[in-house]
Symmetry: C2
């Protein structure tokens, strides 16, 4: 009996989430190894060892079972050239910048075929394959994390652009008099809807306007450990200030979604990332704004849905991309 496996791995700033799937896409194993921020080679070497252990045939097996890793898919934040495997700008892992990930995979995984993709593109491909985008051909994904990432699929193919710079949705400028963004620009979506921006705004509200409120108490109590999850729990208890904060995030997100629907007119828009766990606190005001912005009558009721695959989505998508690559594109 032969068993073929596909590895999908999502390189994060501190850990590499990985998943091993069988040739039907079923999950065989999932796990995590630490990221070495200074060395892609050491990180992927460690991953290769762990994967090799997992897919070795059990030592007590009598059958002539043949376990084989067929292909490797890697997802990573930053500007990635999927053809060459080159990683350019890499905000989460500056120590990995300007390396050829395909070459390192070839070295560490005995020349297995590989595919590398931007992490949100991989997550979108995962949602397309097994999640909120099943059955669709044209999709937009917005990932609300520390920053805001994006992915675009047209007719079943990820759009990477001429210089691999497409789908930088987080840096769509929504208001030239808006807040300063981490990119140096002004009024980008990320300057409202990334967790860095949301926490900054919460602290500002606590300090300047709402000294006596529940929000101010929360900010004081949590200090540096304040999370968007803390804020959403407070909002769910009915706290007006944090409700308004998430509604503003959703409104700005809706502005970006409205623009994207007028530009791309997809089947649906998927909202993912950790911040999106606030769910309807954000999606409510987002969905309220979009129809009035969209020109094409039939596109006004575009479904704006939550991602379904959670934190493993990029690893799942990377494994799916590896399987597609192996099947000949």
């Amino acid at each position: 009996m032969a068993a073929e496996f596909y590895l999908g791995a999502d390189i994060g700033g501190t850990g590499v989430k990985y998943i091993i799937t069988d040739d039907q896409g079923g999950i065989f194993h999932q796990g995590e190894v630490p990221t070495d921020p200074h060395s892609a080679k050491r990180t992927l070497g460690r991953l290769a060892m762990e994967v090799a252990e997992r897919i070795s045939p059990p030592s007590d097996s009598d059958e002539a079972t043949f376990f084989r890793l067929a292909a490797v898919g890697l997802a990573c934040a930053g500007i990635i050239n999927p053809a060459s495997g080159h990683l350019g700008r890499s905000p989460n892992l500056p120590g990995w910048e300007d390396t050829n990930l395909k070459r390192i995979i070839a070295n560490e995984f005995q020349d297995k075929p590989s595919v590398v993709a931007n992490d949100v593109n991989a997550a979108l491909f995962g949602e397309f394959s097994f999640g909120a985008g099943r059955g669709c051909r044209n999709l937009v994904m917005i990932a609300l994390g520390t920053g805001v990432g994006g992915g675009i699929m047209l007719d079943g193919a990820l759009v990477v652009g001429t210089h691999n710079g497409a789908a930088e949705i987080g840096h769509m400028v929504l208001d030239p008099s808006g807040p300063t963004c981490t990119c140096g620009g002004v009024g980008c979506l990320e300057a409202w809807a990334g967790s860095v921006a949301i926490l900054k705004q919460a602290r500002l509200l606590a300090k300047v306007e709402l000294k006596e409120t529940a929000l101010a108490q929360l900010v004081l109590e949590k200090g540096e450990h304040l999370s968007t999850r803390d804020l959403s729990l407070l909002a769910e208890q009915g706290d007006a200030a944090s409700l308004a904060l998430f509604a503003e995030v959703g409104h700005r997100l809706g502005h970006a979604v409205g623009n994207l629907v007028n530009i791309l007119d997809p089947d649906r828009v998927i909202i993912g990332g950790g911040v999106a766990q606030a769910g309807d606190l954000i999606l409510g005001s987002c969905r309220a704004l979009v129809p009035a912005m969209v020109l094409a009558e039939e596109a006004k009721d575009i479904p704006i849905v939550s991602a379904e695959l959670g934190p493993m989505s990029a690893a799942v998508g990377a494994a799916c991309l590896a399987r597609q690559e192996q099947a000949g594109g």
Copy 2:
């Protein structure tokens, strides 16, 4: 000898510009027939008669020459379903709304194969085939006319979207506190960069702020016949107010282009339409803004170029689309 011809026609509010090309794309004839705003059937019937006359073999011909119309391409403003040929929302020709253009072409042109496309999509395909987009695969076109239209091409194919509502670039909202747009929205690109908006702004400047200026004199003198061409001539003479007006148009256009490059990362961006004849008066400030907005290093110096085919671009593109359709897509 057999000669095969392709008809490309661009339906305008008052006239139908058309072009007849040979099977190499060479121009055999071009002309214009009036548009009947109440009847697509009468308009296309008249066009069919005129085209039939043009491609009849000369009566004194001794040769057994066979002149044949091989396919028809039609370009029209509005929301068009290229598969069915249905014209939905049609701002320039409300009397044509909700008609099936492919069926009317079949009736009036003896069941010739046909293709229908949004006018800016057709113009983009023309520029891709013979103009400013030659040799490219990924293109964005922005047409600055009365309103502002858009076209998007990825990997050599026009992007129409799930509900044929894509590339409505004129209604990208750039500033939620911007001027009101004809679409009912606020702060759309069109509310700055369409000729309606530019002329409105010129009249406002003349009335409110600059009573004694050359701009005020021009507005008074031209009255209702004021055109963006008049304003650009004044700007070219060094008039500060009209220079600033075009610089503002270019700056807002640059904001839209910057967003589009971050979303789509095309090979180049083509600026067309009558207003774009102002050339560097607009493109100067547009090009000045874009690099700072674009994230991907290699995409920062994206060429932002003027369209090359002029007022016949949509007719040319429609003929090219017809030829491609005939060749089997």
